[in-house]
């Protein structure tokens, strides 16, 4: 008989190695899935994890994409992880991301065709504000009425998507776009273009912001009293209240931070890689970031690595689609499985496995 015995403290060793364990398990099961789809599993795994970085022909193009894709994932996941630490489940980052993009883009377009250098900072500010306000809806509803933030933040994703479709065909549509849906292209407007800072690296302002966010989040969570309060609220809500931590303030803070970061991620995406507001410019980063946050163990540096890994599966997935004609959805499933296996192997972090007869509980 196998039984589980609770560890007095979560194992540090297992906390560090479960993600690796989960990645390997996902590769094995994913490989089986690829084999079922009629693709050589070893070749598929190599195409996804190795070729984007080292393939002689494609790597030159796909290596910069790593940062382009990892930037928004890391930025959003950092915000989410702070909330998850406090037991605040913001799963509507996709909506905050969309609203940030819309607000930031609208602020910029209001000044078209000015070439002032102040426009881009203003857009970033408005993007952050858009995400912040959208995240404040579940936050205020939770603090005022105790409404479940999971459901509200998720419902708001669908609302945001409807707003996005509406503005891309109406309010923000390019007046010179011959009636096609979509805003003006920011790539053709130097003052607002979120271009690569160093050519050929994929490094744009969003990636820089993501790196800053990683460091800031580390300082906040490990060195600042608010970070301690956030962790305390998540691990022992009662103790936190006795210690004088105001739960409403923690909720506002956590959702506010994640809203700001998701909103900025949206703005950087729309002015950079996406180029314009369209009905489907959002690539589901807000949801994938949830996986990134967990895979990174809710730890800022872990999230950095997890974001890069997840970006790799995106690029590798596209490559596999191209070269092995693997369906695009199989990558989505692959990413979902990764989260599942991570949660499954997590049991070793908190429990010890005991073989032998179970004693009476």
């Amino acid at each position: 008989m196998i039984s589980l015995e609770k560890r007095p403290q979560p194992s540090r060793l297992w906390t560090a190695i479960t993600p690796i364990f989960a990645v390997v398990l996902t590769m094995v099961v994913g490989g089986l899935m690829f084999a079922l789809l009629g693709v050589d599993p070893i070749e598929a795994v190599r195409t996804i994890f190795w070729d984007p970085l080292f393939h002689p022909q494609f790597a030159g193009f796909s290596r910069p994409q790593l940062l382009v894709k990892a930037g928004p994932l890391i930025l959003i996941a950092i915000g989410l992880s702070i909330g998850f630490r406090a037991g605040i489940w913001n799963i509507g980052a996709e909506g905050q991301y969309i609203m940030g993009a819309i607000c930031g883009a609208a602020a910029g377009l209001a000044f078209y065709p000015s070439e002032s250098i102040l426009i881009f900072p203003l857009m970033i500010l408005c993007g952050a504000l858009g995400g912040f306000l959208w995240a404040m809806i579940p936050a205020v509803l939770k603090t005022r009425f105790g409404t479940n933030e999971i459901l509200v933040s998720l419902m708001l994703v669908y609302v945001a998507q409807n707003i996005l479709i509406s503005v891309s065909t109406g309010l923000l549509r390019n007046p010179e776009g011959m009636g096609f849906p979509g805003s003006r292209n920011f790539k053709q407007w130097d003052a607002t273009h979120n271009a690569e800072i160093i050519a050929g690296t994929g490094m744009h302002w969003g990636v820089v912001t993501a790196f800053i966010a990683v460091i800031a989040a580390y300082v906040l969570m490990a060195r600042h009293i608010q970070g301690f309060n956030i962790r305390l609220s998540g691990e022992a809500p009662r103790a936190a209240r006795f210690a004088g931590v105001n739960p409403a303030r923690i909720i506002l803070l956590c959702l506010g931070i994640s809203g700001v970061l998701a909103g900025m991620a949206g703005l950087f995406e729309v002015t950079g890689p996406a180029g314009q507001i369209t009905g489907n410019f959002n690539a589901g980063y807000g949801f994938t970031a949830i996986i990134v946050a967990f895979l990174g163990r809710l730890n800022p540096f872990g999230i950095l690595l997890a974001g890069l890994l997840m970006a790799l599966t995106y690029i590798g997935g596209e490559l596999a689609q191209l070269m092995l004609s693997l369906p695009g959805a199989s990558i989505q499933l692959f990413q979902g499985m990764l989260l599942f296996f991570l949660l499954a192997t997590d049991v070793f972090t908190n429990y010890r496995i005991r073989f032998g007869k179970r004693e009476a509980a």
């Binding site: 489940w89 479940n148 409807n162 959805a329």
Partner: protein, 307 residues
């Protein structure tokens, strides 16, 4: 705007059709939550049911095989959630989200070859006497069998939880798993069965969407229906009768906004399309402002017989 083009008989009939997927998923999730488990994977199980049901119905030509396969597939999928949360003691919120992401990926993978196909038609049940009634016959008694199944399921769940010993044990497990364990009930087994049932219901709901309501397969077609089902359970304060009311109210809103769009109402389309989600939020706010009555005591907490 031409409101005269909205036919009240067809309106009620289509409300029933649009409410049924959510009703099926919500009544299943209510049983799961009554057992103390919060499964946020309803959306993933629903869309898996939708695609499996559609695929099997198209291949076999029989919609009922589709429904059976959908229930089976989603129930099996839900067991993965069950194993993770009950045996490996993973966080229920995170695992439920994972289940949704897996379900969305899995469904679009399975569904690719079936895009653009048409579902085999499902026959309407003719009830002698009732179906021939002037207005109500067409409104309430000329539907496919699944609508009546969903209504019977609500009654069955209500009676099961209220009058049977098994229902009492399930509620005890949900209210206080430690006490239930101390009394000798198998907490994990009861919960696994509830999760399995919830998965099967969500699968039926999804299949109803792809086989009757739409009826075809498109990627991501549940569009948040699973999440709305979760909201309806909260709205219903974990009571079967109110789940029925909630699902039909929601179905009403959906159909009404579609009718308003078709009638060319002078309201932005985006607002109308977003209205089901907005109304869900507003309803949730009202319910929570009143206080969370009826939430099972152990909802969302992991059980480990170690203390």
């Amino acid at each position: 705007m031409d409101l005269g083009s909205i036919n009240p008989v067809l309106l009620v009939a289509s409300i029933m059709v649009s409410a049924t997927p959510i009703l099926l998923a919500a009544i299943g999730e209510m049983v799961v939550e009554k057992a103390g488990v919060l499964n946020l994977g309803v959306e993933g199980m629903m869309i898996t049911g939708a695609v499996v049901g559609f695929a099997v119905a198209v291949t076999s030509g029989n919609p009922y095989f589709g429904f059976l396969a959908a229930a089976a597939a989603s129930a099996v999928l839900s067991l993965s959630f069950g194993v993770l949360t009950q045996f490996l003691l993973s966080n229920q919120v995170a695992t439920g989200l994972g289940l949704t992401l897996v379900g969305l990926g899995l469904s679009s993978l399975i569904g690719k070859p079936y895009e653009g196909m048409k579902a085999p038609p499902i026959s309407k049940v003719h009830i002698p006497g009732l179906s021939d009634m002037p207005v109500f016959g067409k409104m309430l008694f000329s539907h496919d069998v699944m609508i009546y199944v969903s209504l019977l399921l609500v009654v069955a769940v209500w009676a099961f939880l209220k009058y049977t010993r098994a229902g009492l044990i399930l509620r005890a497990v949900g209210e206080s798993h430690d006490s239930a364990h101390a009394l000798g009930y198998k907490v994990v087994t009861v919960r696994l069965m509830a999760i399995f049932f919830g998965g099967a219901c969500a699968g039926l709901g999804g299949a109803y969407l792809s086989l009757v309501r739409v009826p075809q397969w498109t990627e991501g077609m549940t569009a948040g229906a699973g999440w709305i089902a979760l909201a309806i359970v909260v709205f219903a304060s974990w009571r079967a009768g109110r789940v029925l009311i909630g699902a039909y109210l929601f179905g009403g809103v959906t159909v009404l906004q579609l009718n308003l769009q078709a009638a060319g109402a002078n309201v932005p389309v985006a607002l109308l399309s977003a209205s089901p989600y907005l109304i869900t939020i507003i309803v949730l706010v009202f319910i929570s402002a009143r206080g969370a009555h009826g939430a099972p005591g152990s909802l969302g907490r992991s059980f480990h017989a170690s203390h």
